[in-house]
């Protein structure tokens, strides 16, 4: 296009919708990712409420079992690929360049592309709800042969997954390139904020495992349409091999969903404790150890497939080992709080809520690692309780903590503090009301992914359903707070929080459209 260089007008960009479509600015793209995640959060939440409505009482009331299965499947896909992953990528886009003192992401045009793939991928995925045979209903794990019974939706599902993978891989490459190349002079690796560290490690996990998922689902596609028999025993294949491939992706994937949370919490706790993070380097090493271990524990998702004894024992031991670095992290956070001078603004509340409830999810995870006991827990509501504890008051709470923490920086306005606290307490109450009873029904024998259940499970399912609706409606407060804060509010200082440390707090609130065009000086 034009070769005219307008040095004085760096902030110039198209207005209106074209600003967002053509943007290569890391802050704009971060905002896009975060809004995308927010929209998907409500779509996935509606699906969860369909599930909880049907499970409010025994008997079939509202939906057909097939549609119910579609809801569980789509809820998982939307929440994992459409909410938690994009939200963390959005946070990474906004914060990583600022935190390392770089001017932008290393590959800004690819950044634009990574984001704009997502709306198309999810339009395609959600469009399957109206297709012949219904939306995918074989579980987000896509286990064959059941997933091969999907109707017209099948190729769209696979294509959507390919797109999401493409977007994630490009996003991850961008983050690695940014962190390794764009740091301000003096910002050595071991001086980086932990959020940057956890994202660097997460990005490597993404690059390692998303292609594995792509390979697995492509084999499903060829099994369905091109007569191959990768997973068909009648043709010499093996249905269990898909599970190995899937979980080789899937287990690192669950750490992709949680590691950036560790970074967020490691930024928030020291700020509000007014005390430096305890054991910075051990936090880095613990994150790296968790990432490494994530590659050698995948078959703990499949203890009941009939692996040989040696396999079961290996995966049990390896899985239990993860408790060690995870414990180190929790101990470090608690020690950071110890003898600090704490205040409890909304981000701190969410961070503390994260530590407590993530740890509860960690405990049930440890229980699940014990293979003989897992034979009883596997595929029950105990598992549902476990992974929702690490994902909702885990990842989602960390994302919300991050939003409250950095929203004043992003918008230049303070959010309404009391409303934020109300949001936290309602969310915490209802999230426990929803998911804690699931431990009980799971132990008592209720399998997951069923639209109807026998009578002994009725009471706790009703409680869980009430909790789910409460949690869902509480999130409207979150939406309201964010819109209100963007529109106005009391002006935030540059420092925002009394105990805040790091490069992002040296910029104005809101930061200029292009920040750190000349690298800052790192002490």
């Amino acid at each position: 296009m034009s070769s005219v260089v307008k040095d004085a007008h760096h902030d110039e960009h198209p207005s209106g919708i074209m600003r967002w479509i053509t943007t290569t600015n890391h802050k704009d793209i971060g905002t896009l990712y975060l809004w995308f995640a927010m929209i998907m959060f409500f779509i996935g939440g509606l699906m969860a409420l369909v599930i909880r409505s049907e499970l409010f009482q025994p008997g079939l009331q509202f939906v057909d079992p097939q549609f119910f299965n579609s809801m569980t499947t789509m809820h998982a896909l939307v929440m994992i690929f459409g909410v938690v992953m994009p939200a963390f990528t959005g946070l990474a886009n906004w914060m990583i360049p600022i935190m390392i003192g770089g001017p932008d992401m290393a590959l800004p045009r690819m950044n634009n592309w990574s984001f704009w793939i997502m709306p198309f991928a999810f339009s395609m995925l959600l469009s399957t709800l109206w297709m012949d045979g219904g939306a995918p209903a074989g579980g987000w794990t896509l286990y064959p042969p059941l997933s091969l019974q999907t109707g017209d939706a099948f190729p769209f599902l696979i294509f959507a997954i390919h797109f999401m993978g493409l977007s994630s891989i490009m996003g991850a490459i961008n983050i690695v390139a940014t962190i390794l190349n764009m740091r301000a002079p003096g910002m050595t690796l071991m001086k980086m904020p932990l959020f940057v560290w956890t994202w660097l490690i997460t990005a490597f996990l993404l690059i390692a495992v998303m292609p594995v998922l792509a390979g697995g689902v492509t084999m499903l596609l060829t099994d369905k349409f091109f007569g191959t028999s990768f997973f068909n025993a009648a043709g010499g294949g093996d249905p269990v091999m898909f599970q190995h491939i899937f979980w080789f992706f899937g287990h690192p994937e669950v750490y992709i969903l949680i590691l950036p949370s560790f970074g967020v919490v490691s930024a928030i706790i020291p700020t509000f404790a007014r005390k430096p993070l305890f054991g910075y380097s051990s936090m880095v090493y613990a994150t790296a150890s968790i990432a490494f271990l994530s590659f050698i524990v995948w078959a703990h998702h499949m203890f009941t497939v009939g692996m040989p004894l040696a396999g079961e024992v290996f995966f049990m031991f390896a899985t239990m080992l993860i408790a060690v670095p995870t414990g180190v992290k929790v101990f470090n956070w608690v020690t950071t709080m110890w003898k600090g001078a704490m205040t409890f603004e909304t981000p701190m509340l969410f961070a503390i809520g994260f530590i407590v409830m993530f740890t509860i999810g960690g405990f049930s995870g440890l229980m699940l690692a014990i293979t003989p006991a897992d034979f009883q827990y596997h595929d029950t509501y105990f598992v549902v309780a476990h992974f929702h504890y690490v994902l909702v008051p885990g990842s989602i709470f960390a994302i919300m903590a991050a939003c409250y923490f950095w929203l004043p920086k992003w918008t230049g306005n303070m959010y309404p503090e009391t409303l934020g606290k109300i949001h936290f307490w309602l969310s915490t109450f209802f999230v426990n009301l929803t998911f804690f009873p699931m431990h009980f029904v799971g132990l008592a024998g209720m399998p997951r992914r069923i639209p109807d259940y026998s009578l002994q499970f009725a009471d706790y399912n009703m409680i869980a359903s009430i909790g789910a609706f409460g949690f869902g409606f509480a999130q409207l407060i979150f939406l309201y707070i964010i819109i209100k804060t963007i529109k106005g509010g009391s002006k935030a200082t540059d420092q925002v929080w009394e105990g805040a440390e790091g490069l992002e707090w040296t910029l104005s609130s809101p930061p200029p459209y292009h920040s750190f065009n000349t690298p800052p000086v790192i002490k």
């Binding site: 009331q61 024992v313 414990g327 020690t335 006991a373 034979f375 109450f429």
Partner: protein
């Protein structure tokens, strides 16, 4: 200041709420025995299921103790080390000794858990000296049972009427956990199950026997059990298998050996008669 006090109160509430949850969980053990509410894993009716239950309670208690210590320290800190109390923040931020300690101690605890778990697992994998062999095949959406080395085989499917499922009739006490033909098994004999599927994945799960394994088309899985007490034991398909996944229960009738032999002889006779009828 006032705001912080209110907050202190809500944090105490939060602490109390978590404690209540924990206490509920602990009491559930006794409650389940009383048959009042099913809140915990069933102890079951085999030696191994009781071992599994023991492991479950062991690790639960270990988690509770660790939780009490960690959350206790955390809430103590939340209550005592707050700015509103006028404390000055400390500045310490490193201790190799501490890091080493809280790496080693959990590791040792883990070994303490792994040893009994592995012992139980090894026992669960021992299928030798089985006297009765039964082949189980999963279908969308029912089970087939074949008593190997006999002529007895039958399908077993949900017998709950549709009217109950669609809320047109009152649900009976065994709603969704009743079948037309129960799997009859003898007590005090080692029974080996061979498990496979005809279509998609299923999983055969009976909590009272602590048995759960996937039924995989084209593959045969193996598990074994010795039931200690006669009774009716109910289970379910545990692996998503399509539209009626929630509607393929398992019901086992465990009987004295003599009764089992009689049942088997009758079933054999009936089967032979059936076959003769068909061949006629």
């Amino acid at each position: 200041m006032c705001g912080n006090n209110i907050q202190g109160a809500s944090i105490k509430m939060f602490l109390i709420k978590n404690l209540i949850s924990l206490i509920t969980l602990l009491f559930s053990y006794n409650v389940a025995n009383a048959g009042w509410l099913d809140l915990n894993m069933p102890e079951g009716v085999t030696d191994l299921s009781q071992e599994v239950f023991g492991l479950h309670m062991l690790i639960l208690w270990i988690c509770v103790v660790i939780g009490v210590i960690v959350f206790g320290a955390m809430f103590w800190s939340i209550l005592m080390h707050r700015k509103s109390k006028g404390v000055k923040p400390a500045t310490f931020h490193e201790s190799t000794k501490l890091e080493f300690l809280w790496t080693i101690v959990p590791f040792v605890i883990l070994i303490g858990m792994a040893v009994p778990a592995t012992k139980t697992l090894i026992k669960m994998y021992d299928h030798s000296d089985s006297e009765i062999h039964i082949k189980i095949t999963g279908y969308q959406w029912l089970w087939e049972y074949e008593y190997l080395n006999t002529d007895v085989s039958f399908y077993s499917k949900l017998s709950t009427p549709y009217n109950e499922i669609y809320n047109k009739e009152t649900k009976n006490v065994n709603y969704l956990q009743e079948v037309d033909k129960q799997l009859v098994l003898p007590i005090n004999k080692k029974i080996r199950f061979l498990l496979t599927s005809n279509d998609v994945l299923h999983a055969w799960w009976v909590p009272d026997l602590a048995l759960k394994k996937d039924a995989i088309p084209g593959f045969i899985n193996e598990m074994s059990v010795v039931i200690n007490e006669p009774g009716i034991y109910r289970g379910r398909c545990a692996e998503l298998c399509g539209r009626h996944h929630g509607f393929m229960p398992i019901v086992i009738k465990a009987v004295e050996e003599k009764e089992y032999e009689e049942w088997l002889a009758n079933a054999n006779k009936a089967k032979t008669a059936d076959v003769a009828k068909i061949n006629k």
